[in-house]
């Protein structure tokens, strides 16, 4: 075959240079884009990891803070436990609701109380006592007549929660009229055996 070619060599060389330029430009451009994409991807991954480390570090500091206050919590727990022990002690030794219920049972329907005093014993060990301390209940009230006062006294004497029910006083009303209620005052001790 002949070597005939009507394309001038300088045009061929120029086109070849352009073609090579396009060839490499395209590949270099693609490589730059690829590297840029990879960099962004790595940046994203690294950012996620950094955030995760920050989060874990925050949690660690938080845990460290909690660990520092644990001793205070233990002290608080001990204090609350002591209070609870005292309350439980009080509730167990002098169950007020049971006493009030027993007192209510002892009262007659037409009598009512005007005064109630409960004297507790001091906690054990605070002061030495020769006789064992017994909590006492002192009540004042009004009843329709003496018979009713006697019934109340009888009720208290029969109630298992009380012992030594004593009638301290009974007074007639000073003024005359329709309201002729009798005023009374009774003391009783709380029964130890029921505690």
């Amino acid at each position: 075959m002949s070597g005939l070619n009507l394309i001038p060599p300088d045009l061929l060389a120029r086109r070849e240079a352009r073609r090579l330029l396009r060839f490499w430009s395209w590949r270099i451009g693609a490589s730059v884009l690829l590297l840029g994409g990879l960099f962004l991807l790595l940046h994203e991954v690294a950012a996620d990891r950094f955030a995760e480390v920050e989060q874990i570090s925050g949690r660690y500091d938080d845990l460290q803070g909690r660990l520092r206050s644990a001793e205070d919590l233990i002290l608080e727990r001990d204090r609350l436990a002591e209070r609870r022990a005292v309350i439980d002690l009080i509730r167990d030794e002098h169950p007020a609701d049971a006493f009030l219920f027993a007192l209510g049972e002892a009262l007659t329907p037409d009598s009512y109380l005007t005064f109630l005093e409960l004297r507790r014993c001091a906690p054990a060990g605070e002061e030495a006592q020769s006789d064992p301390c017994r909590a006492t209940l002192r009540i004042r009230g009004q009843a329709a007549d003496h018979g009713r006062v006697g019934a109340i006294l009888h009720g208290l004497s029969q109630a298992p929660r009380f012992a030594d029910a004593t009638l301290l006083s009974v007074q007639e009303p000073q003024r005359s009229g329709a309201d002729r209620a009798v005023e009374f005052e009774i003391t009783a001790t709380l029964r130890e055996s029921d505690e």
């Binding site: 075959m1 070619n5 009507l6 073609r19």
Partner: protein, 356 residues
């Protein structure tokens, strides 16, 4: 201005050459052959997948760069790019049939010490009707076998074309993403592919393209002489339109008839006669200046290769036996190719200097 001798010395790194890295050689895609005739292109590509071989052929038109406004022009220029995208090739050979390509023989004294290229340039300067600085020149040194006994001169066949035209074609094909690295005439591309039982058989090859017709005399696989007439299929169509007052489509249908009516033949006769006269002139020149031969045949390729009336007319007027183009051309395997795509197919099989 450039000449082939200078081109051969130029250290141009051709990616298609064996020295280039494999990734620059355009992969395994086969070469594309593109026949250019004005704004119309005929494309052929030989495809081989395993043992299966086939030809892929197609036609498309290039938009005129000045015909449409800017936006419409851009759209029009994109359309052929889309249409041509089904032809994917690493490299392409353009086969150009244009009356602007001058082909003329020169006789150079063998004893002259000056380089052949320089002498060609000096003599070609007087043959061109435009400044030689605006021309692209190349030449073929004819083999000694075609020279008459006792003739010691060197005979070269010079091809010259305006550089602007070549650059326009190259740019147009670049726009279609076809990298054309070789641009030649139909005679040059067909010559090496013509087979004949007799080695010294001479062929008159007539290739009718869109706007021009190439006449070449071929022997020993070389072009002895080539003439490009300034009319082709388009000229025949225009003549039919003018004479019969027909539309383009009607004229095309009429021209495609293998054996048209006598009226049509009469209308086309002046052009056919001109063709015969030019062919006679070429053959007479070759008989006078080259070694005599006993066998001469006619080969008709291009648009009207199957035109029976034209075939008969040429055979009768030239007194030459016509050979079947498909059988005469040494093409690769695959289905039989349409003679209209013969030049493009030979372009697809072309191996530029430095390749193969």
């Amino acid at each position: 201005m450039s000449i082939s001798a200078a081109r051969r010395l130029l250290p141009v790194g051709r990616p298609g050459s064996a020295a280039a890295p494999s990734f620059l050689r355009g992969g395994q895609r086969s070469r594309l052959g593109i026949e250019i005739a004005g704004d119309s292109l005929r494309i052929a590509q030989h495809l081989r997948r395993g043992a299966a071989e086939r030809w892929r052929c197609g036609e498309l038109s290039l938009p005129s760069p000045t015909a449409a406004p800017a936006a419409a022009g851009r759209r029009a220029r994109r359309a052929p790019a889309t249409a041509g995208s089904r032809f994917r090739a690493g490299r392409a050979t353009a086969v150009c049939t244009s009356p602007l390509i001058d082909v003329f023989p020169l006789n150079l004294e063998r004893d002259d010490d000056a380089p052949v290229a320089q002498r060609v340039v000096e003599q070609a300067r007087d043959r061109l009707d435009y400044p030689i600085e605006e021309a692209v020149l190349d030449f073929n040194l004819l083999p000694p076998a075609v020279q008459r006994p006792g003739d010691d001169d060197l005979t070269v066949l010079v091809y010259a074309a305006p550089r602007a035209l070549i650059e326009h074609w190259v740019a147009s094909l670049d726009h279609l993403n076809w990298y054309v690295d070789c641009l030649i005439t139909p005679g040059c591309v067909l010559a090496p592919r013509i087979e004949h039982p007799l080695r010294d058989a001479r062929h008159l090859v007539i290739s009718i393209a869109g706007i021009a017709t190439s006449l070449s005399v071929v022997q020993f696989g070389e072009v002895l002489l080539e003439r490009i007439l300034p009319w082709g299929e388009q000229g025949l169509l225009e003549r039919l339109q003018a004479e019969l007052d027909l539309s383009t489509a009607q004229s095309e249908r009429l021209l495609q008839q293998s054996d048209p009516a006598a009226t049509v033949q009469e209308i086309l006769a002046p052009l056919f006669t001109e063709l015969v006269q030019e062919a006679d002139g070429c053959l007479a020149y070759c008989d006078a200046y080259f070694s005599p031969t006993t066998t001469t045949a006619l080969l008709l390729v291009g648009s009207l290769a199957a035109h029976a009336a034209l075939q008969r007319f040429l055979e009768r007027e030239l007194g030459l036996p016509r050979r079947d183009a498909t059988q005469s051309l040494q093409l690769l395997g695959g289905e039989e190719i349409d003679p209209a795509f013969a030049a493009a197919a030979c372009g697809a099989l072309w191996e530029p200097e430095g390749e193969g």
